[in-house]
Symmetry: C2
Subunit: 227 residues, 2 copies
Amino acid sequence: MIEICNEVISSRSAYESVQPRRCQMPKGHSRKHSEFHYLDHLRIEQKSVAEKIKRDSTMTTGAAWKSEEAGPNRILRWVMLLSDTELTRYNIRMENLKPQVVAKLREKAATYDNCMSVARKLTWLVYQMEDAPRPPQEVQEYLEGFFGEMKWGNTTCIICKEKLNFALFSKAQRGKAEIETGHISPREHNAENVGFAHRECNIAQGNKTIQEFYNWIRGIIQRVGLF
Amino acid sequence: MIEICNEVISSRSAYESVQPRRCQMPKGHSRKHSEFHYLDHLRIEQKSVAEKIKRDSTMTTGAAWKSEEAGPNRILRWVMLLSDTELTRYNIRMENLKPQVVAKLREKAATYDNCMSVARKLTWLVYQMEDAPRPPQEVQEYLEGFFGEMKWGNTTCIICKEKLNFALFSKAQRGKAEIETGHISPREHNAENVGFAHRECNIAQGNKTIQEFYNWIRGIIQRVGLF
């Protein structure tokens, strides 16, 4: 495992006091400190994918629209580790939100380090998709230092196990992207538990773990006699 | 098949000129004309279920909230059979809506007679659920006249084929009912094609036909080696 620099990077975020951002470059690097340096190449190749990785790894999904009742649209996952009382200091009043919104936000909570690790894992997976751009050697070595050798065309949907093609990121149906970030267990946000999934697979999985989902659909197939 | 009265019932609906409501009681009945007389008993037993049947059989699902862009929240399915030009007479301007909203509304279109038939079918299915109230004899005979003998405990989820219990209508997770109206093919709203489904099954089916859904999940089970 690569040792990272970990120097504090000052940001203008209102949540800096919750958790300072830290440099994720390899220890002893000679360039400017950076939290997502390994996304620089992907940002040039296809900006929306780099932004998606950053967003999905660090932010909760929120309500579809902003309102008092629905809660913040998106918020940093590690902010959701704070207590209701601590959150009032950031003008977030959980007691004003519907219980189901609170539950949804709270189950997305994750530590800063887990979020950083998820972002690296997703980048490692993107570069292994069919038709993905090739990463610069430095990026490849950095990511392989965490998750092992990269093999092009190796990334599959974590749910249906079909190969994922990089071009799917540009496709959308009814305004919804065709690839989403998925979780083996929907309630754990860490590198071992995340991957990419077809939107339709992710929706079908719902709030089941992938194993629960497989058992469930196997039961259906058995009941309808399609075995 | 029972012959129905079919007398026009005048209503105060703005859409009466599109399609007059008609009495659905058996021909030659002696009581007041009624469109949903067979729901009267269920309305007393559990009002929300009777209302759900009426709503799901006759109305489109709309956007989650009302807005110019999102289109009407719910609208009569047969109104959606009108052309864009005809709809402007009812102050519905399809050209102002997003294409995906238009598609969603248009695919819910159904004739008045099909909607009436769907409502009867759903009622016939509700009374055959486990723990459902017993229908009055008159209602039972009416519904059996269309769909054949009722057997208590016979109604299953059209997708996963597990038995459905009437009590599920009162259960909700995150504010969403546990039982929904489902379609064997999502684009056909008629008695042969509708039934009840668990919410999670309905979501998993998405816009696939049930056969497409089975083929899809069988493929997953095969790929992950759970056969």
